[in-house]
Amino acid sequence: MYRYDEFDARLVGERVAQFRGQVERRLSGELSEEQFKPLRLMNGLYLQLHAYMLRVAVPYGTLSSLQMRKLAHVARKYDKGYGHFTTRQNIQYNWPALVDVPDILDDLADVEMHAIQTSGNCIRNVTSDQFAGAAADEVEDPRIWCEVIRQWSTFHPEFTFLPRKFKIAVTASQNDRAAIRLHDIGLRIHKNDAGETGFEVIVGGGLGRTPYIGHTIREFLPKKHLLSYLEAVLRVYNLEGRRDNLYKARIKILVNAGGVEKFTDLVEAEWAAIRKSEIDLPGEEIDRIRAYFSPPDFEDLPAESAALEQKRTSDGAFARWLRVNTVVHKAPGYAIVNISLKPVGGIPGDISDVQMEAVADLAAQYSQDEIRATHEQNLVLPHVKKDDLYAVWQALTAQELATPNIRLVSDIIACPGLDYCTLANTRSIPIAQRISERFADLEQQEDIGELKIKISGCINACGHHHVGHIGILGVDKKGEEFYQITLGGSGAEDASLGEIVGRGLSSGDAVGAVEKLVDYYRENRQDNERFIDTYRRIGADPFKEALYAAA
């Protein structure tokens, strides 16, 4: 993985020093909260319902065990002993004291971490495929380009006060694990007919109040031009994006208001004017970054492990975890391990300091020292030998990190909701907890199969409800919490937006509604259809009927 050189380290150090000064000005009263707000927001520090919240960047979701141990240390020393992994591969701390934040940032800088651009109307932390560098289906490791973008976008002088926040995701696989069609810019590395690799550039996706699937504005961009092309997109957006209405300020509105052709023409014209300038990195610098992502030295192993097969046969619980939580690795004899942060009745994405340290230990011992955070609020050990899987499973089980529910009904994305968030209308976490309790039976979950439930506590859609196979949106009606169900969304390569199926339900009814929908699917599925496949085949009406038929 990427390591800082003296330049990267100095920039982060200077940022911490700058913020320490800003915090001192706030604490001394020189700055009012109003004046301090834009400064703290540049450093990922929000003021939530009950306390400050610090969002720490995990660039493209990659962590070393040393970094994970530091995250545990921060949770223990400055917070209440836990952190929360977000849908943008970041981690949030919910209870830091303002006076401690510069020290937290200093501690993080010791392990090459920071909170830069995790909030504010700037280019946010770049996200990627959590299986990058391990996936059997990738063209190349997309993180090389994520790091190129990270550096280019850090303190970009022109793009720090955009109309709105700006999110970029990169993948190098046909199977979209990074939701690239739902980002301001999505980049997909692929091969053209001549065998060269380049980017499909997708612009204008996003959720929120007005969800859109992104448009492809360029099928193939040679990789060396990435930064100049991004700069052209950002400049058009910075100059032309709406600033009169917070809710119409994202690039998706600009793209769709004038039409994608007009937007593309503006970008291409801008790019033609700047592509020869010194924005793009020289090959030497790209090679320098690429070298950090060269594959680890995988051992020459047989594809199958006898030890593993023996345990698979003798231990049913292990066999289930293998089926559900592990994924094919590109190197023979290795597997990708998903770590579920969704125990039955738990808070999606939450992890304690002790659990973080256990994950760090496992990464150091079994996974080439690497850990990934996923946009579905789980973790990954990307490079585990099949021979070691049983030991890893036992260790994860001891920490309650082995719930075999990845992609299943209880692997729920939920925003923090009214338990923490100042924007929320309703709570999200208790709904997620109750659904996972209702579907606690593991055999039943596996029988139901892939089913993505996503819950947002308000229309800002941080819980991605628009792209849930079943989406749940909390709305406030005269002080009472109601939940609206959407069906048929997907954030993957077959991206689609869910459809609202009818009137809102009380929190109690919402959980029962999910059960009715699942029952209806099980009665009507054909062959190996997933929930979403059945929905797409038979349409919304029968599901609506099943949901609202007089009980």
Binding site: D5, F7, D8, R10, L11, E14, R15, A17, Q18, Q22, P38, L39, N121, Q151, W152, T154, F155, H156, P157, E158, F159, T160, F161, L162, L227, R235, N238, L239, R243, A273, S277, E278, I279, L281, P282, E284, E285, R288
Partner: protein, 154 residues
């Protein structure tokens, strides 16, 4: 509202001379009527390309920040410097705060109608970062070039 000018890597208080300002629209309508104008004011929702031909008529161009959050003038300044080769003064007007002056300077601003009082602090803020990852309209060498130079020297 002190006027600060970029001098090397510092911001220095400057004497405010009376300007004869003209808006870009008025200039485009009738340049002859504004022949004595000394400063061109461009609103941030107008493309700077409209003035490309006449840039040499002005020693000062004023770009606006209605609030510090409205960052359109950063792009306007870069276009004036990098695309249209404007070498006169580019002055920031409006919500011009100490924590943004470095970004402004990097985009080509060299004069600031500073909205605060502590001009020494504003100048110090310019020095809070000694490096930049990306090239812009100023003379900071991007980090990637420094890396290359170092590799060549080694």
């Amino acid at each position: 509202m002190p006027l600060l000018k970029l001098f090397g890597s510092n911001l220095v208080p400057a004497l405010e001379e009376p300007l004869q300002e003209v808006s870009l629209e008025d200039w485009c309508d009738n340049p002859q009527a504004h022949a004595d104008a000394t400063a061109l004011v461009i609103e941030n929702d107008i493309g700077v390309e409209h003035i490309a031909e006449d840039l040499s008529s002005f020693g000062i161009i004023i770009l606006k920040f209605p609030t510090f959050k409205d960052g359109r003038a950063y792009s306007q300044a870069r276009l004036l410097r990098e695309r249209f080769g404007y070498t006169g003064e580019i002055r920031a007007r409006g919500d011009v705060l100490r924590d943004q002056t470095l970004f402004m300077a990097r985009c080509g601003f060299d004069a600031f109608e500073f909205a605060g009082d502590d001009t020494a602090a504003a100048s110090a803020a310019l020095g809070e970062f000694s490096l930049a990852y990306q090239s812009a309209a100023d003379r900071m060498e991007p980090v990637w070039r420094q890396r290359l130079d170092r590799a060549v020297a080694a």
